[in-house]
């Protein structure tokens, strides 16, 4: 199957793809996320930043259906997905990667990426059992798309390697490939550059920008490296202790006194990390 062209950002400017309205999540006495509202427009790269424990991943988990918000609602393209299961969210075309990589270790890189196309494929048990005919045709057609992604992410020589044998940076890349295999309209990236060296970070940032530009994929990015976030994001939301304390373009956020306070403590000046 050819890559499905997703409407470029320019056509649908300012259209809201994802809106979270007043979502809260509590774990026992801990308020992980409290009354957070964000809106992500189609085609943009939106970043969520904040100190450790600010509730970034919890928010992402609610969007992707792992947690159910205690209150508030989440809509994707106007559909209320607040009570959807993760698999239903995926079927809408939402893909994500994990902070601590969740690949299928016993499978090859190729199979991992093929799995990303699961919701785009249809073969049932019987046609899989018979294989020749329908299932084979489908497998080959989807393999073509997967090979495009393998080329895109430069994984050609690793196709038949089990993912458990790969280096950390490569596993991150395979996970991105698997997420992209879904042909997502919204891609949720949870610290895609965590634990990487400068070179790997630059590669990953390049891939993220390319995905956004080539396929118009909307991206929500959680990342600790401020330089990367400020460089590639269209808009940034800042969480601190479960609350949203700021939102805006990278430049606006960097000047925001509340953000500076959250990152550097009271009275700090806008130097250091938020450079």
């Amino acid at each position: 199957m050819a890559p499905q062209p997703i409407t470029p950002a320019a056509d649908a400017s300012n259209e809201i793809l994802l809106a979270a309205t007043g979502v809260s999540k509590r774990f026992g006495g801990v308020r992980a996320v409290e009354d957070v509202s964000i809106a992500v427009r189609r085609g943009e790269i939106a970043s969520i930043i904040g100190p450790n424990g600010a509730g970034k991943t919890s928010l992402l988990n609610m969007i992707s259906g792992f947690y159910r918000p205690d209150s508030g609602s989440i809509t994707i393209e106007g559909v209320d997905t607040t009570r959807f299961r993760p698999a239903q969210i995926a079927a809408l075309g939402i893909a994500r990667t994990f902070q601590n990589i969740a690949l299928f270790g016993g499978m090859t890189v190729l199979d991992n990426i093929m799995l990303g196309r699961h919701v785009r494929m249809k073969s049932g048990v019987l046609s899989s059992f018979i294989y020749w005919g329908l299932a084979q045709k489908e497998e080959v057609a989807h393999r073509e798309r997967v090979e495009e992604l393998i080329d895109f992410l430069e994984l050609q020589d690793l196709r038949k390697q089990p993912t458990s044998a790969l280096a950390y940076g490569l596993r991150k890349r395979v996970e991105l490939a698997r997420a992209l295999a879904l042909d997502p309209k919204l891609l949720l990236l949870d610290e895609p550059m965590g634990g990487m060296n400068q070179e790997e970070k630059e590669d990953m940032a390049r891939y993220v920008i390319d995905v956004n530009e080539q396929w118009g994929t909307t991206i929500i990015l959680i990342e600790h490296d401020m330089a990367v976030v400020m460089d590639i994001s269209d808009r940034v939301a800042v969480l601190d202790r479960g609350r949203k304390i700021a939102e805006g373009t990278p430049a606006e956020v960097q000047r925001n006194p509340a953000v500076i306070r959250a990152y550097l403590g009271a009275g700090g000046e806008g130097r250091g990390q938020a450079a």
Binding site: F66, F104, G106, L115, H118, S128, E139
Partner: protein, 355 residues
């Protein structure tokens, strides 16, 4: 030595995804086909063929259990009972309706699949050892039910006579005829399993085994696929039960008790979890081992025991040797016989330049 990848180039994705991507594999399969379809039935006697038949039946069951345990990462200690479901379904169809095998075998499989899927429902919430206990309960409940409901078990003995199947108007009376009959189903089971695990459904199973959270996030409905795994696996078990019933000529719940479930688990673990070849190795190994140890003791037991002790000792010594050999093989290669075979193959792959 026999296995060379260099110089093999594929020009299409279909070729790369073929069942046997290397030309040598096709020749190996052809050689095996000749060996088992022509040579074995012509050279082996009736008794040896009957042992081969037991192996063939076990292969079907082991493949099915491996789909559940090896590929999907769930566990079942209830497969003996699922086999009995298939067996009694077929037996009742034969006695009441005189159904031919091409009805009884799918019907037995489907009934077992239905029961298996029901038993699999707890797998959504419980895993590992807890699921093992739940399926163990299923084993005992099914055993009890069959034994106590005359409508299923056919009366006090809980056994139903089943005549041998008829193919093209010929009743399969000899072991050699039965051998070809069973071989057909084994080939179907092997090819079907291979197809299943290399396509969409099989990948979803492995995804659930390796990382159920990530599996859900890429859109796999975990509950549905776990139930499918239980149903497919139980279908194989049901078919195994029917085949075994045809083989014995009688459906009897005592042939499908807890020890059978454990034997089949032993097959997939010893053979190699998540591997088709491993299922075959394991099934043959676990089926032959008790027979071989008996032969061994009958022939050489007098070296260690007096004749009178030997008669008493053989059943127990068999169990000891059986257990001992299983432990030995698992210590040598915890990942099973399939891994052992792969190690040997990989050694010869670069032989004699192993560096």
């Amino acid at each position: 030595m026999f296995h060379r990848e260099s110089g093999v180039f594929k020009t299409s994705y279909a070729a790369d995804m073929a069942l046997y991507p290397l030309p040598i594999a096709k020749w190996a399969v052809a050689a095996f086909a000749v060996l088992f379809i022509v040579v074995a039935p012509l050279t082996l006697g009736e008794y040896y063929i009957s042992i081969l038949n037991l192996c063939l039946i076990a292969v079907v069951g082991a493949l099915g259990l491996n789909i559940l345990v090896g590929y999907t990462g769930q566990i079942s200690i209830g497969h003996g009972a699922f086999m009995s479901v298939g067996a009694y379904t077929a037996a009742n169809l034969v006695t009441h309706l005189g159904a031919p095998f091409w009805i009884t075998i799918p019907a037995g499989g489907l009934m077992a699949a239905l029961i298996g899927a029901l038993v699999g429902i707890p797998s959504l919430r419980i895993k590992g050892i807890y699921l093992a206990i739940a399926t163990l309960a299923a084993q005992l409940i099914i055993e009890w039910t069959i034994n106590h409901v005359p409508a299923i078990s056919g009366g006090a003995q809980a056994s139903i006579q089943v005549p041998r199947p008829t193919l093209f108007g010929v009743q399969l009376k000899s072991q050699v005829q039965l051998y070809f009959f069973l071989m057909g189903f084994v080939v179907l089971a092997i090819v079907g399993t291979a197809n299943l695990v290399r396509s969409r459904i099989g990948r979803a199973f492995v995804a659930i085994r390796d990382q159920d959270i990530a599996a859900e996030i890429i859109g796999i409905n975990i509950f549905r696929y776990k139930l499918w795994a239980f149903a497919i696996s139980s279908f194989y078990a049901g078919v195994t039960g029917v085949l075994y019933t045809y083989y014995l000529g009688i459906a009897n719940y005592e042939q499908f008790q807890l020890n059978v479930s454990i034997d089949y688990l032993a097959m997939v673990i010893i053979g190699g979890l998540g591997s088709i070849l491993g299922s075959i190795f394991g099934a043959v190994f676990v089926t032959l081992l008790p027979i071989l140890t008996r032969w061994f003791l009958e022939d050489y037991g007098w070296l260690f025991f007096s004749q009178s002790d030997l008669l008493n000792a053989i059943p127990n010594l068999r169990l000891i040797m059986f257990g001992g050999l299983i432990i030995f093989f698992l210590v040598v290669e915890p990942e099973g016989l399939n891994r052992l075979w792969r190690n040997i193959r990989n050694y010869f792959r670069v032989w004699p330049f192993s560096y």
